[in-house]
Symmetry: C2
Subunit: 449 residues, 2 copies
């Protein structure tokens, strides 16, 4: 929904709340789509939110909680009565219910579970870590048997009345519950009613194990253009299904995480303007201090060459330009490498080829920059030896920066560290200090200092 409309509705909503007309406020929210409901709801202060949640239809409250950030949900739910929570959780998809229960106190979670009509739909999901395929899947699926007919299957679907997301693929299991095929609704309705499922189904079905990282599961679903991906245990028993709408969220979140880490900040848990400055500061200060400590290396290098700097103060003029160019060349490389790793375009084992690729790019870029730097230096200071020093240094620096920029994220990935963590700022800091060393060494030789 467009922002002006949203703001208009928000005013109505605030008016209703000021009149203490909770039912009226609930009606306003209930008339909207879940994503808009959540946006509107997020604009209210916490007191209003807590008052409103029990007033709305449980299905709407459930939809809203499914859209909000985990941290916010935990705070809200802690302020509700157990009965209200049960009423709302009852309306949630099992995977979302499990996420919610994982975020509240174990005692409260246990009390809610005891109150649910069908706790066994949710309980098994609690053992899977949030970030795994098992944590992402829903247990609300219909498994067909191989010896059912198409007619029987359609009858089962009629009786089952499933929610929208889980109907498009129908997974087929054998008598031990092991995944043995997949069919889709269209195949069922096109088939003769007496045809056996095993004659319709496609037995080449992709699945992931419950412990698989959710990002990997998401990549598989995206790569093979699936609408749902079955999750199995070690003996291929069907445990649940990951649907494409959950995968869209995972891929967006992972890209957000990468981009924020590349900027040198820990990802935020909730939306930007809702995160207080103190929390944002906490997410950033650690990195900034660490980089500062790394950056003091540049000071040490400067002090090492202080005598040369005293002799030729003009050397200092080119320092920011040189280390800036090195940092920029490294940033270009690292951004390309990190994204190629994320989309599985390259793998850590390709390190040598990636480096060889970047090395050639680095030499080409370095030659171009060397010409530009020579021209700039000679027009600033008509000292050819200084200009040659700057020019040779920039060539060496760009080559060095592209090498560091290509190998650093690959090394991180190899050791299981998120490559985005070692990117941008960390790389610049490293290239700054080593770049200065390269510059002073080359200048020292050429200028005979």
């Amino acid at each position: 929904m467009d922002r002006p409309i949203l703001e208009h509705v928000l005013v109505q909503l605030q008016n209703a709340l000021e009149r203490d007309d909770l039912q009226g406020a609930a009606n306003i929210i209930e008339a909207m789509r879940p994503a808009d409901q959540a946006d509107l709801f997020a604009e209210l202060d916490e007191e209003q939110q807590v008052a409103l949640l029990p007033e709305m239809a449980a299905g709407d409250s459930a939809d809203i909680l499914e859209e909000l950030d985990d941290e916010q949900v935990a705070e809200l739910v802690a302020a509700l009565t157990t009965d209200d929570i049960i009423r709302i959780v009852e309306e949630m998809e099992p995977d979302e219910a499990a996420d919610l229960l994982g975020d509240i106190s174990p005692e409260q979670a246990e009390a809610v579970l005891r109150g649910l009509e069908d706790p066994d739909e949710v309980r098994p999901l609690l053992i899977h870590p949030d970030e795994s395929a098992g944590g992402l899947m829903t247990t609300e699926f219909l498994a067909l048997r191989r010896r059912m007919t198409a007619g029987e299957a359609i009858e089962a679907i009629r009786r089952w009345q499933p929610s929208e997301e889980t109907i498009y693929y129908l997974f087929v299991v054998d008598q031990h519950g092991r995944l043995s095929g997949v069919a889709n609704l269209r195949q069922l309705i096109v088939a003769q009613p007496t045809t056996l499922i095993m004659d319709i189904m496609d037995s080449e079905v992709l699945a992931v194990q419950a412990g698989t990282d959710q990002e990997e599961a998401a990549q598989i679903l995206a790569r093979y253009d699936l609408l749902a991906l079955p999750v199995v245990d070690a003996s291929r028993v069907l445990l649940g299904v990951i649907t494409v709408d959950d995968v869209l969220d995972v891929l967006e979140d992972e890209a957000t995480e990468d981009i924020q880490r590349m900027g040198g900040a820990e990802p935020l848990e909730r939306s930007y303007l809702d995160t207080p400055p103190a929390i944002i500061t906490r997410k950033r200060i650690g990195w900034l201090l660490l980089l500062f400590v790394g950056g003091t290396l540049t000071g040490s290098v400067m002090r090492l060459f202080e005598a040369q700097l005293q002799a030729v103060v003009a050397l200092a003029v080119f320092i920011p330009l040189l280390i800036g160019t090195g940092g920029n060349a490294g940033s270009q490389t690292i951004a390309t490498i990190i994204r190629s790793l994320a989309t599985k375009d390259i793998e850590p084992s390709d390190a040598f080829w990636v480096w060889w690729h970047e090395a050639r790019v680095g030499i080409l870029l370095g030659l171009g920059m060397a010409v530009a730097a020579f021209v700039r230096a000679i027009t600033w200071d008509p000292n050819p030896a200084l200009a040659v020093s700057v020019s040779v240094s920039i060539l060496a620096l760009v080559f060095w920066a592209t090498s560091v920029g290509s190998l650093l994220p690959l090394a991180a990935a190899r050791f299981g560290v998120d490559p985005a963590l070692v990117s941008g700022p960390l790389m610049s800091t490293l290239v700054d200090a080593t770049g200065l060393f390269i510059y002073f060494t080359i200048a020292g030789i050429i200028l005979g200092l």
Copy 2:
């Protein structure tokens, strides 16, 4: 598929090709899933690819071409005969066929169109720009009429035999072809066969106009957890349907573009290792030179303050550390802001609130860094006035960097420029020069130079 398996199959494939056994090679590829077929195919050299394409079943060739990058497809197709192209295009989804025809010469495209069985499915798609909702949609959809019964609709689906992606939502139109509702397959099979579609359908259906940017369409589909989004013209006549699998690709590509631009490089058109170093260099050198020119500003600032630098060479020791910290603080901010803009968490009109948020973060971060900088400076050089200069400068610099980092991408978005373009390197270059100015000015006052 795992890389070791892929490499094993690749060896078999290369063996077949060396024996000139094109049919054998085609069989090996045909046995795989489309995404894997494309990976395998991409490992062959162009000559082998051109030889193999006409040998494979047209459906498999079509699947492979749909997965490859546009530029690669254009090169391959230019080497095929028109008859072969027609045979392959015939098997493509209309949206993919239109993309392909848009990438080859207009004469060749016209010849192919003339040879198609149903050119009218593809021709209207050619007028929509690649990056718009109209360019992303497929025209292969089944529109139901409001006065059909559920039974008639199912019969229509049986006769139609649609491809998998387009069946899950069935859009309903009035007698003028205007979108009036949506139903899903499950609703049809659950309903009594004599029920009218207009009594089943949901008339609140989200749609986008054909000219909408594809990223915006993708965000709407993702936000409302849809599997398909209808595309309409100005009078709400249904033109086509965007499916979730295409949206996944768009969102991935947009994140890739953002990340590469944040690193200061134009996005690559094909996969990393397939892009020759000369092309990568071309994508980067423009930015690097532009930033170099911007970076020479730092040199000008240095020259402006050369007398002070002569007087206190120790000032130079802190330059890389100070501008590095400013750049890091700015990077942290800009990464958060760009991503929040991309996920519609904030909008350009929120500029003041975002700046106010960052200003507070900047002061908190700046105070923390000021303490660290004072401690570091005083242990390096027991000159309290110098340490205070460095400490005050870093506070001012961090505050300044967070302000620039928050306002720069918002201003870009306001003027319709991709915020990722002004991020990372451009921001650092700007903060470098202004940061030096701040440092020398503050130091000049405190040290009385």
